[in-house]
Subunit: 495 residues, 2 copies
């Protein structure tokens, strides 16, 4: 059914312009996984999905709660008497108890340092729907939002596809740990002006997807100053607010505007969701929380297109009102995420693979720059194909996040159990070691050739032989040239 | 929070142009109901909601099923082991068992005379989301769909607001029982051409909302011929397919295209939902079923904005796969709807109020033309305000459905229990009788005046005294002039 798109005059431009952005390696990786998904028992050699930012580490706590609270559901003998009332409720304000519970949860996740007004809670179909709603409210087709790079690939679909809104990159660089600089912001803003594009806002993800970092107060205040100076909107995607690892503190934009009375609150909008912090992407709970009354009113009218099922609203209202459960869940989730994050990054460090320092999100930003044959996005793609086809891990290449530098990959670590994590790590280690052996063999052979004077191959020539285009795409050697920086640290480490 | 809209340059045109269509009396009626909702015990003098097309007549059957099937829910001790798997599932194809169950249900509702392919089932956030999705797929901003009048007021929001698509009326008239004529279709099409508007499709509701009628085979075949001749799309909203009263047979477009091999199937699209036939508007199950592969593929990508909660998918997959339950539910629902429809229309006939003959939907099309002071939409509004403020019933005036003739009102009858139905009927009867008494009194008094020659009031003058603008808006006399056609049939009937 998923046919290649053709230009069909009978359909709309939206239907035929590929604007949905699924022609990105980010989604290609998902497809590769889909055709050969790993399963511990049934398909142990399949592709392990590390391209999916899912939080699966605390479902035991949820299940316990469910079993202890059968009356929270309209689909239990204990709760069914409420079935009719909930099934017929379709008010776009949502169940009052649901909005109150969500406001409470948003506050708990932010350490109870800020409160949220239930009357400003607007539902949407996941964060996907929430972002589209905000874009529809703030910008006309052709107008733009600034977005620091690297950014979540889905934004190209969510904010642009049906709205006609543009996303303009604010280029962030590794030299600076991908922090947003005033200069980068101004450059992006001025470039838009030169290109005659009206900038309507700045969109940030805090904690950042894909970096796994979160903003400090100073940076957030600078951003608030910037958008107030320009009189443009600030959209803060805080869907990973609850994933900041134990011992660190997330700062929400909600706190900043309390401290910045000069800030025009009409410009501030938060996107939230339960897909990441609670791990319920299937329930499609997206929230627009705007400080702008007009946006609240209009977004609520738009929520008719993506209301949350009342069956789900009802159940979550009950679950998220249980403060003892919520506090324990958030705390335990942060501990488990920190543990998994460390387990993974340390395992990679053992084979010389580094990553950007981070302490939030369900992923980290893996640095494979020195593993690329050349510092190009072509090399990045070549290397990514090896990872997916040989190591059989679906990680996402930086270019799909509009990263300005090749060689970075997002690795998701919370959508699997410990055993799968160990297998993923083992695969990487095996691959690295195997190639180190091959490299030693090649080196020896090369020495032989040179010694015997039978062959006059230059290193350069050997490189060419070993480059991907000369080799089977499935060869583990495809990405491994003698000049590859891969070998050196390993050799150093082991020799 | 629901502030009056102002033109804020910082927001988009969509956010400031009132295109959401909520400034219609259709929604005003809802608001009137919301401020003073009827409740049998707590507010017996409140407004009875007869503006909401909800099917509440068979929830006892649903509740029975729920209680007998606790393992169908992931929120029961019996089903919770599946919680994680469902909560994390967010594939826009939907749970395979859900798609299969929906295809099965769609077929059962259509008497098993056609089958539906589960791979063509695309989810959306209710029929609201389904219609917007189809509009986004088929038409560019400024292009148009033809829609026979009267039509569902929500279409103005669903299909136009965020898409920029236009809806052009195909004018249907009471002289013809509001049937669609070839001439009306051609007139609308030619008018669009003259106005330089590209027509991309024809949108019908079958069964019709608000008429409560459904199309016969011949008419459907004519429509298929028309859209094929023009090479435009046909969108069939069949969300009331299961409401056709017992003894009659609904004909789906799915059947027609089986019999019309010449039809270009790429032009045929069905919108379906579980909000009406099952009575679950809160669950937000909308379906796009297209025979066009490109539309299936693109609509599925768009479904990311309005996926059905997997908690709900899972439960419905189980419920709608239970054929014994489904067959019994559909049959029982049709019987109960027929009973309620008859109960209401017969009750109204007793006080001389007629309606368009119908046998589907959750409503009928009440004919109050002869009750209007003048055959104008202003009079219709005046009369509607009396109904809502005096009789305290929220029925919906025809003009909100773009009806071409004033005096028609949609009356919903399936969103209340028998007791409320009786109260609604009693209120109408009391009102009519009270005004008949008053009319008699006025007549007598008028006779006296004329006899005594004390006053020289002409009938015209008396009319003026009795017209709404001279009277308290709460007076029951406001809509009742001596020339009102209300009295005559009643007087005839009782005298």
């Amino acid at each position: 059914m998923d046919v290649a798109m053709v230009n069909d005059n009978n359909l709309s431009k939206i239907a035929t312009n590929n604007g949905h952005g699924e022609n990105s390696p980010y989604f290609d990786g998902w497809k590769a996984y889909d055709t050969n998904p790993f399963h511990l028992q049934h398909n142990p050699n399949g592709v392990i999905q590390m391209g999916l930012a899912e939080n699966q580490l605390c479902f035991d706590l949820i299940q316990e709660w469910i079993e202890a609270n059968p009356s929270a559901s309209i689909c239990t003998p204990q709760g069914a008497f409420d079935f009719k009332e909930k099934a017929i409720f379709q008010d776009y304000h949502g169940l009052p108890e649901f909005r109150t519970a969500i406001a409470n949860f948003m506050s708990q996740v932010r350490g109870n340092r800020v409160t949220f007004d239930p009357t400003r809670i607007v539902m949407s179909g996941g964060a996907t729907g929430a972002h589209e709603t905000v874009a529809f409210c703030l910008a006309n087709p052709g107008e733009a939002l600034l977005v620091p790079t690297p950014y979540y690939p889905g934004f190209d679909r969510d904010l642009r596809w049906r709205t006609g809104v543009k996303l303009l990159p604010v280029v962030c660089e590794s030299s600076n740990n991908f922090n947003i600089t005033q200069e980068a912001l101004e450059t992006a803003y001025e470039k838009a002006k030169l290109d005659n594009i009206k900038v309507k806002g700045l969109l940030i993800t805090n904690p950042s997807n894909p970096l796994g970092t979160h903003f400090d107060k100073e940076t957030l205040k600078d951003l608030v100053t910037f958008i107030n100076d320009k009189n443009i909107h600030l959209i803060c995607d805080e869907i990973y607010a609850g994933t900041v690892t134990a011992g660190d503190e997330f700062v929400s934009i909600a706190e900043i505007i309390e401290e910045e009375p000069e800030c025009n609150r009409d410009l501030i909008h938060i996107v939230y969701s339960l897909s990441k912090d609670m791990g319920f992407p299937g329930f499609r709970v997206g929230i627009v929380y705007s400080y702008n009354d007009h946006v609240v009113s209009i977004a609520r009218k738009m929520s008719s297109f993506g209301l949350v099922s009342t069956q789900t609203q009802h159940m979550l209202a009950s679950m998220l009102s249980d403060n003892m459960f919520v506090v324990n869940f958030i705390s335990e989730s942060r501990i488990r995420l920190a543990h998994r994050h460390d387990m993974f990054t340390r395992g990679l460090a053992q084979v010389g693979i580094g990553s950007l320092e981070s302490n939030a999100g369900l992923f980290f930003w893996m640095d494979l720059r020195r593993f690329l044959k050349e510092p190009t996005f072509e090399s990045e793609m070549t290397f990514w194909r090896i990872i997916i086809n040989e190591i059989k891990l679906n990680v996402s290449p930086g270019q799909s996040f509009h990263c300005s530098e090749p060689g970075w990959f997002r690795v998701c670590f919370a959508n699997m159990d410990d055993e799968t994590t160990m297998i993923a790590l083992r695969r990487i280690k095996t691959f690295v070691l195997k190639n180190k052996m091959l490299e030693v063999k090649i080196k020896t052979q090369k020495q032989c050739w040179q010694n015997n004077q039978h062959l006059k191959l230059s290193s350069r020539r050997l490189d060419e032989i070993l480059t991907p285009h000369r080799m089977s795409p499935h060869s583990p050697l495809a990405w491994m040239s003698p000049h590859s920086p891969l070998a050196s640290p390993l050799v150093r480490a082991q020799n």
